[in-house]
Symmetry: C2
DNA sequence: CCAATATATGAACAACTGTTCATATATTGA
DNA sequence: TCAATATATGAACAGTTGTTCATATATTGG
């Protein structure tokens, strides 16, 4: 009972490239604007204009960040006329987001 | 059945400060060196010297990154003589790590 | 085709980040 | 106390990042 890890679970340390990819994934979550976009899209798809309006930021800034989110496979565009609606790509993203949020809240509560 | 979100779950969008904290948390995960340190510590605690050796990096670089991980509350130091052993602070970290890894693998598998 | 609208993109720039090098601090054994 | 060892820290520097501004592309209605 000395070690805190759950010894029963067999886990292999991923190779260095996978860990690089992993850090790249978290890097995408690691920006205020992008996490705010993700948080907004949790409520459903939204177009660029409304995102910019909602986050009170320039359209260009949002577009740039959406491109990063798109390249990372976190959001997906859907065209409808002139408007492009963005939505989260899959539920994994919400899970990662929720995990992080749980950690934040957990830490907040544990401050003595 | 039009919307992809699970409508049953009541979710409030966190305030802007919380989202900032969240992005700060993910930022810590979003660096190769730091994620490699985290991955290494999943196998149990390790001292600075061995971490540097294992990651084939300078002791100073590791110390600097450990400081960031420490400030973020992700790792915890334990002194034993001259040596300082670092370990992950709680299981939340492993969960976030595993979530990210699952997403990576999921994405890899879905490439057509 | 043309003007209006929605979004994307490239260049520029300031701010930030991670590593290295040199040095400081802390602990131990003699 | 002194030398040896382990870790931490500050300054400097190159590389990266996010925003803004100007402009390009794409779509639609007339």
């Amino acid at each position: 009972m000395e070690n805190h890890t759950s010894d029963l679970i067999k886990r292999t340390t991923p190779d260095i490239e996978t860990l690089y990819d992993l850090s790249e994934l978290f890097k995408v979550f690691g920006d205020t604007t992008r996490i705010r976009i993700i948080a907004a899209l949790l409520d459903g798809e939204m177009c660029v204009y409304h995102l910019a309006e909602y986050l009170e930021m320039g359209q260009s800034a949002i577009s740039h960040q959406l491109r990063i989110l798109r390249s990372a496979g976190l959001v997906r565009p859907r065209r409808e006329g002139k408007t492009i609606f963005y939505s989260l790509d899959d539920e994994h993203i919400e899970m990662i987001y929720n995990m992080g949020l749980a950690h934040i809240c957990h830490k907040k509560g544990e401050v003595k």
